[in-house]
Point group: C2
Chain length 302, copies 2
């Protein structure tokens, strides 16, 4: 049994185009309509052929859909939901892929009161953006978190879960608030810090930008990957998950201040203890298949 | 012309054992003696065979060396230099691979006043430690920074440069103070921040460690690699390059506070501007061959 017969994807960037490609690979009989607000993206998507049809309006993409996935920056969710509302069949299930969930759930429920809403967050991505960056295996072995509201129809939730399982993802379900706190520490704060340090480094006066680039293999380059992620997407994530991000940032700053003090006062034991503790987390991540076990993430060494 | 005929490596961890292996590959007629303070490491090194001889004392490794490379944590440099002093031929050139250079240069000059000292820092490594972690191509296409004192004999500096070029590295020369500031931002601060956020995440009470590991693909896992680096090495780096690290940390904290304020007050334009600026640095690093151009550092997808 296919979870859905006609899927509509609004937003054909990295994630939207990866979903379309993954459907072609894993659910080849499912019909995929796509739309993107950017005419250049629509043209590229047509040329790449990962959708059966790329429509010029969002409404046209959803008229006969039984599943609609909004793959736009979280700040655009409310407007896109309002845009598709008049054309959306009442039996269609609506989902999204936003990185923060509380604000998205509220926006979708307000704009689409007659449809089942099952927000989702596939915890997967790369630093690339746009329809050319997507690929069919992006979700393999990654977690997809569903954050259905308490009154969501169970069958709708199960169909969305089955859809993501078909694409190779593992499913977890939690409420939107908990999601937003978990992702604040595992994703949003790391991005915020990476953006900050890359900014700090490029603003130095006595160390040139060319030196920063040259000697980046000492550690800095690891931060630049996520600091190359899509600016619009991340602006919206921080604004929409403000409370949780600010709370995690506060904790981080306290810990950093404590390390700063240890360095200033030469407390080597405190440093050593932390640096020993942090190795265990890496081991857990590699053991659970969430990262490459090869050194340097498997970067090529010649 | 070989730069050296008899090289002695003190400390047979990731870097020391990689140098030995690279010599075998690139300078096969050079004789390599090695020593490590840890008997288990000596035994492993003998079994792996990347040295011609592994000696039980540091002194025995250097008696007939024309080049000695100290590959120990920077906090151990002074003691190791004092230990080899009685056995060191006066014509031997002494170098090291420490990640901070001002304090190491001072320690080596004090302990070995009769030898030419040419400190070096190969900006290369992985998160792995120990003699089994090394490999011969570690330095290929990476920069090796020499920080000779102003009175270092030019010929000695050129021989050390030639040695590293033979191992595949590119050479840059600068004074120790500038090195320590450049590396504070490109390497030391990134490590400090990575250790901190991994610590912050593992101390959360309402987000479990298992959740942190599960959803680490959202960005967190990129930090865990360098936070798995050798604790002793990094404790010593922070203590020995304290002033520069604290200065860079101060700049980072100011920038982070400014972003925090932008999030709190909903200033999306400020966030967007920074997030756009930071993409350029990543492009520079990839273009200059200091990182993998494949998405996700070339991590395998599937």
């Amino acid at each position: 049994m296919l979870p859905f017969a006609r899927v509509s994807i609004i937003g054909l960037g990295l994630i939207g185009s990866s979903i379309a490609r993954a459907i072609k690979d894993h659910l080849p009989t499912v019909c995929v309509n796509g739309h993107d607000v950017d005419p250049d993206v629509r043209e590229t998507a047509r040329a790449l052929g990962f959708c059966d049809d790329v429509t010029d309006t969002a409404g046209a993409a959803v008229t006969d859909a039984d599943f609609v996935v909004l793959c736009v920056p979280v700040g655009a969710m409310a407007a896109v939901a309002a845009e598709i509302a008049p054309d959306l069949p009442p039996e269609a299930i609506v989902s999204d892929v936003g990185s923060s969930k509380g604000s998205v759930l509220a926006a979708l429920q307000a704009a689409l009161p007659h449809n089942a809403i099952v927000p989702a967050h596939p915890v997967a991505g790369t630093e690339r953006s746009g329809p050319e960056a997507g690929f069919a295996t992006l979700f393999h072995g990654r977690w997809c978190i569903l954050t259905p509201p308490a009154d969501a129809p169970l069958l709708a939730v199960e169909r969305v879960a089955e859809f993501w399982r078909s694409l190779g993802a593992d499913i977890e379900t939690m409420d939107a608030d908990h999601h937003d706190r978990v992702l604040a520490i595992t994703s949003h704060l790391p991005h915020l810090i990476a953006y900050t340090i890359v900014g700090t480094a490029s603003d130095m006066e006595e160390v040139t930008r060319s030196e920063v680039i040259k000697y980046s293999a000492g550690g800095f380059r690891d931060f630049t990957r996520i600091a190359a992620s899509d600016p619009t997407m991340w602006r919206d994530v921080f604004l929409s998950n403000r409370e949780a991000v600010l709370d995690m940032l506060q904790r981080f700053t306290e810990d950093l201040t404590s390390l700063q003090r240890a360095i200033r006062w030469g407390k080597g034991d405190e440093l050593f203890d932390l640096f020993t503790r942090t190795r265990a987390i890496r081991r857990g991540i590699v053991e659970q298949g969430q990262d490459d076990e090869a050194p340097d993430f498997g970067r090529k060494h010649d």
